[in-house]
């Protein structure tokens, strides 16, 4: 009983501190504004606890790395520094909205997020409403990994900028490669059963079916995320229809289990994936992943020495493999836009970002003015032995089998954005 009394005491202290926090934050904000050095806070709203924490943590490390680079070079303009404010949303849309509110209260005008299209839709929608209702607290939303095409089509808005190719763009690249492979005749499409998987499936059927007389789609299946323990029956089904390629948007544990089940049962089709590239996944899949393909904007064996150096620095600092080149790209681009705008005002910066053209060590890139989707070069690569860069514990590395120019990934959009007044 008395223990609890103490506990309660602790709690009420917490409440006081907590209620006082906005006031302090406000004071702090005023103080920093008065000073010469201008700090631009970027709120990072992603999972930092719970089952998806490792992905969120990886994103945070990349953001910190990218921000350190920008600050060291004063790339956002003289005296202008970026600062990351990490917020744990547990991939929960409702919690994300509350955190967005908190960020807005704290005077933050830039947020970034990547995990979960559900969160992305919620944030994009809330940001648009907030900016309309309260323009002085406008927020720019930088999306580094949520790939639902809807975000830059039916549900697009001015304040959302996406730095990852959407699932349709990735499928366009995958499909053009697949259709060109004369040895592939029967394709099986296998996806997680939520909107991302559904859009992958739709795109795959549209882009792969009817392209070549001897190339058919022999099956399309969706399974609930994280609910299947044993994938063998699904492999048996694929095997029964004679599939020689499997296109899958599955990720994380489901992808690992799928690829391992295929290897265990001796099913030899090539898996064309969206998310094989994460170190955690490659390590879990092990040699079973040999020969399987992924689509990405970069991988360790892309010939770009400047990024190699970056990757080496990142690996040394965080004991993790550099993975999100696009996060560095995104922060660099934001810094460049601020420098060009000569301001950190969200509207001014967003006007610069919209339609911005620039080049990176990988080639020319463009943020489309009509839907704020970044066009960037894409690579299809397969896990192969004897590569210069291989994964720790697994003697495999990604090997480019096809590169696409940024322009080649452009798709029609239903969106046409206009800057707000």
């Amino acid at each position: 009983m008395p223990k609890i009394a103490a506990h309660l005491r602790g709690r009420s202290w917490l409440v006081v501190k907590f209620l006082a926090a906005p006031v302090f934050a406000g004071l702090l904000f005023a103080a920093t504004h008065a000073a010469a050095a201008e700090v631009v806070q970027i709120a990072y709203i992603d999972p930092l606890s719970g089952p998806f924490a490792s992905t969120g943590q990886l994103g945070e490390e990349h953001l910190r790395f990218a921000i350190d680079r920008v600050n060291a070079a004063e790339a956002a303009g003289p005296g202008r520094r970026f600062e990351l404010v990490a917020m744990d949303n547990e991939v929960n849309p409702e919690k994300s909205l509350t955190l967005l509110r908190k960020a807005i209260d704290g005077g933050i005008h830039y947020i970034t997020q990547g995990n979960g299209s559900s969160v992305a839709f919620a944030l994009s929608d809330a940001v648009a409403k907030n900016n309309r209702r309260d323009p002085t607290h406008a927020v720019v939303y930088l999306n580094y990994a949520a790939v639902d095409p809807g975000l830059t089509n039916g549900k697009c808005n001015w304040w959302h900028f996406r730095f990852d190719a959407d699932s349709d763009m990735k499928m366009k690249a995958l499909a053009s490669y697949l259709v060109g492979r004369a040895d592939i005749h029967k394709v099986y499409i296998f996806n997680p059963d939520y909107s991302f998987g559904q859009s992958v499936e739709k795109a795959a059927i549209a882009m792969i079916g009817n392209q070549r007389p001897d190339l058919t789609i022999v099956g399309a299946e969706r399974v609930p995320l994280g609910k299947v323990t044993d994938f063998t029956p699904y492999i048996a089904k694929m095997r029964a229809v004679g599939a020689d390629a499997v296109v899958t948007g599955n990720w994380g544990a489901d992808l690992t289990l799928l690829v391992k089940a295929a290897a265990d049962t001796g099913f030899n089709a090539t898996f064309f994936t969206y998310y094989l590239g994460a170190r955690e996944t490659v390590q879990a899949v092990g040699m079973a992943g040999k020969g399987d393909a992924q689509i990405s904007e970069w991988h360790e064996n892309v010939d770009a020495p400047a990024i190699d150096k970056m990757a080496a620095a990142f690996n040394a600092k965080y004991h993790e493999n550099f993975y999100y080149w696009r996060v560095v790209d995104m922060i660099d681009t934001l810094a460049a836009a601020m420098k060009e705008a000569g301001s950190t005002d969200p509207l001014k910066v967003s006007r610069v970002l919209s339609g911005m053209k620039f080049s990176t060590p990988l080639g020319a890139e463009e943020i489309r003015a009509d839907n704020h989707q970044l066009l960037q070069p894409m690579y299809i690569s397969v896990l192969a032995p004897d590569m210069p860069h291989m994964f720790p514990g697994v003697p495999l590395g990604f090997k480019t089998i096809k590169r696409f120019d940024a322009e080649a990934t452009r798709l029609p959009t239903t969106c046409s954005l206009k800057a707000p007044d």
Binding site: S49, P51, F52, A53, S54, Q57, D193, E221, R222, V223, P224, G226, K227, V228, T229, D230, T232, P233, Y234, I235, A236, K237, R239, A240, G252, A253, T256, L257, K260, D264, T265, G266, F267, R279, E280, Q283, A284, G286, G393
Partner: protein, 312 residues
């Protein structure tokens, strides 16, 4: 024909796997009446312990040591946690295990890190043992099935045929009586809980390398083990086996059916809009929901589960 055989075989493999995963829970639920929500956490601990041990000593020592460690931990939890909440009733016991699952879920990544650990199938068993319809079956799968059958036989024999089993079952229904006969009832409960956790740990040792050993694995195991235990009838070992196999066969069979659900409902006499949302869902897509559908159906028709003796 081959297709049917394949479904049966895959169903059997999956069913036995489910039984292995849920056997420890069945034991604890059946003998103590505690719905142990931390079951999946002990399963996860088993996998992690086995990984750590196998790095140093190899898989086979891990197979013995890890379940013992997990069982010991379980016994401690019972002795110093569960026993204290016992007097507050069943709900408190259940909630205690919920909290415990939460805490273990946080501590595991602190020790082993957030990414998955490379815990692999032992090389001796990593080869295709036989093939059916072009699908290879790993020797390790056979090993897994063997362990599952052994667990069943062991549990069944221990509870039904030995004096200890008799005492345990009596302790559940008539604790005072058994206490008066000179048996230490609390110690019996500690023993049972420890044994249940050890079985969870064993499932972790064997399942952790086939699946992935990561902090998310407890959550991934999820409610399915509860579906098995409840459907089988709380605490009935043969019931759990029956439920596992039923789920295994039906779910595996549903995977092969691409008939839309709408057509099925139509045949059952329900009017379904042929272009509506329901018409698009195939039975195969709904397959992973099958265990829960079965669970609800079984409980509606037969509230005590397939072979349960008690209703609560």
């Amino acid at each position: 024909m081959e297709g049917l055989l394949l479904v049966l075989l895959n169903g059997l493999v999956y069913g036995l796997l489910l039984f292995m995963l849920s056997s420890g829970l069945t034991l604890i639920v059946g003998m103590m009446g505690v719905l142990n929500f931390a079951h999946a956490s002990f399963y996860m601990l088993g996998a992690y312990f086995a990984y750590t041990i196998s790095v140093g000593l190899g898989f086979w020592p891990a197979l013995i040591i890890a379940p013992l460690l997990v069982g010991g931990l379980g016994a401690l939890v019972e002795r110093y946690g569960l026993r204290a909440v016992h007097r507050h009733g069943k709900l408190a016991e259940l909630l205690f295990t919920v909290g415990l699952a939460f805490v273990i879920g946080e501590i595991v990544p602190l020790i082993w890190g957030r990414p998955a650990v490379p815990y692999r199938v032992p090389a001796v068993l990593d080869f295709p043992a036989f093939a059916l319809g072009g699908i290879n079956y790993q020797a390790y799968r056979l090993f897994m099935m063997g362990v599952s059958v052994a667990i069943f036989a062991g549990l069944y024999a221990a509870l039904a045929r030995t004096r200890l089993g008799l005492v345990i079952r009596a302790a559940l229904t008539h604790p005072e009586m058994v206490g008066m006969l000179g048996h230490n009832v609390p110690r019996v409960f500690t023993l049972v809980f420890g044994a249940g956790c050890a079985l969870a740990g064993l499932a972790g040792v064997i399942g952790g390398n086939v699946f992935t050993t990561s902090p998310g694995m407890a959550e991934a195991l999820g409610a399915i083990v509860f579906a098995v235990v409840i459907m089988g009838g709380l605490g009935s070992i043969p019931g759990a086996l029956l439920a596992s196999l039923a789920i295994g066969f039906i779910q595996t069979a549903s995977v092969t059916l691409d008939t839309p659900l709408g057509v099925l409902l139509g045949r059952l006499g329900m009017a379904v809009d042929p272009h509506g949302a329901l018409a698009e869902i195939t039975i195969a897509r709904a397959a992973p929901a099958v265990p829960y559908l079965l669970l609800v159906l079984v409980l509606v028709v037969h509230p005590r589960g397939l072979m349960g003796a008690r209703a609560d």
